[in-house]
């Protein structure tokens, strides 16, 4: 039964995209994922409008002061099991904006992150690769347990 659940989870990762202070570069690449060239619907990935529907939170951009609370709230609204992917240098660590007066840094300062995709912005292929790597890490039950612990 749990095997079936894992299978379903791997085949149907619905994502929510949140920009916490990005330059749009990563965001347009996330949107480009939906379009014919990359079409992530192949993997069952759907961009959902509401955090309640989502399994994976794709975050882009350095976390600004204004957005930090919002990011946390959205993360809290998502039902378990949930995963966070940080896309781009800014989301991974703050990138070029690190140390600015309204920038808190990477997404992992606010919520736990399960996968990092470096790049500025990463190619859409790299984002697919990142999501696939995240999903593969869920396959092994050990890793899953570890991921859940880290929350």
């Amino acid at each position: 039964m749990s095997k079936l659940a894992t299978w379903a989870r791997l085949k149907s990762p619905w994502v929510l995209h949140f920009n916490s202070g990005a330059c749009n570069g990563c965001d347009i690449e996330v949107v480009a994922l939906l379009t014919p060239r990359f079409d992530v619907e192949r993997f069952g990935i759907k961009l959902e409008p509401s955090p309640r529907h989502a399994d994976v939170l794709l975050t882009t951009g350095a976390v600004t002061k204004q957005c930090a609370e919002r990011l946390k709230r959205i993360y809290d609204q998502m039902p378990e099991p949930k995963f966070v992917v940080a896309i781009g240098a800014c989301a991974c660590s703050g990138g070029v904006f690190k140390g600015n007066y309204t920038v808190a840094g990477g997404v992992d300062k606010v919520i736990p992150v399960n996968a990092y995709i470096p790049g500025c912005p990463p190619k859409p292929e790299a984002i697919i690769d990142g999501v696939v790597k995240l999903l593969n890490s869920l396959k092994a039950p050990k890793t899953e347990a570890k991921v859940n612990d880290s929350k």
């Binding site: 079936l4 659940a5 299978w7 379903a8 989870r9 085949k11 149907s12 619905w14 379009t35 014919p36 079409d39 619907e41 192949r42 993997f43 069952g44 959902e48 409008p49 509401s50 309640r52 529907h53 399994d55 609204q77 039902p79 378990e80 099991p81």
Partner: protein, 329 residues
Amino acid sequence: MLDFLLIFRVLVFPGFTFILFFTLFCDWVERKIEARMQNRVGPAVAGPAGILQPLADFIKLLTKEEIIPRDAKKNIFRIAPIIAFSVMVFAICFLPIDGSSAISMSGFTGDLIFIMALVTVANFFLFMSGWASSNPYGGIGAARVLTQFLGYDIPLFLLALTPAFLAGSLTISAIAASQYLPFILLAPWGFVLFIIALQAELEKDPFDIPHAESEVVGGLETEYCGGKLAFLHLTRDVQIVLGAALVVELFLGGPYGPVFFGLPAFWYSLWFVLKVLAVVIVTEYVTCLFARLRIDQVLTANWRMLLPLSVLSLALTVAMATYVYPMVV
């Protein structure tokens, strides 16, 4: 023995299980064909050609955490999606799928009206589920469902009367059975209008305002997650199947078609499935053609265009049924 057959018919074929899997299959066809029309691939990795995608989505949602918002009206929030779903499935059970409906001989005079009423009830429960979530987006989405549904219910019903007049009966099985020549050929205008009204009923483009993401986020589903969301999605998919099935029964000759060998029930089911898929593809095609209209434009389109046209269509059909049809048959 009879009881066993009845249980089998209700629960397995052509009852609940069949409808459930057929619905998921239709969902896959819909997504795949939409993707193709948009020059994409669509679901591809879950099962062969992604055919198990809707099932994966469904199972995944069932295994997710259930969150009930603090402000929600909890009981209604919990049960409304499931009631909506079961009412929809119940309605389908009255359609002759393999030549007779799920519960044999359950068709009665006027079941067309009964099914339409059931759909209305189901939509009302959808509205309730959105309203109960106490989320403004959910509320707006739910209100839009209701507004749109009530508006388009009338022309849809008027248009459903077209084949009823042609067949001289309000019983679906009788209407389907009387189509030696499918009514789409006898009353093409009725078919076209019915598809338009259906498009609005099923909340698909250009009438998908209750699902307009850029305006109302997730509409009435906004606050739902986990199993309840799974049922809401399923309700919508069943509704699409039901709508397509209605078109099949009313205009495309129902499940009836040539029987080559063996059991007629098998062939009838096959024809039914193929015809429903054809209608699903047609509605998806229309969806891809248009932009979403504004809510006021949708309502105007209904009251100024569709309603008068459907009255006209009905009048034309009555005339046909009285003067032309007897000559054809």
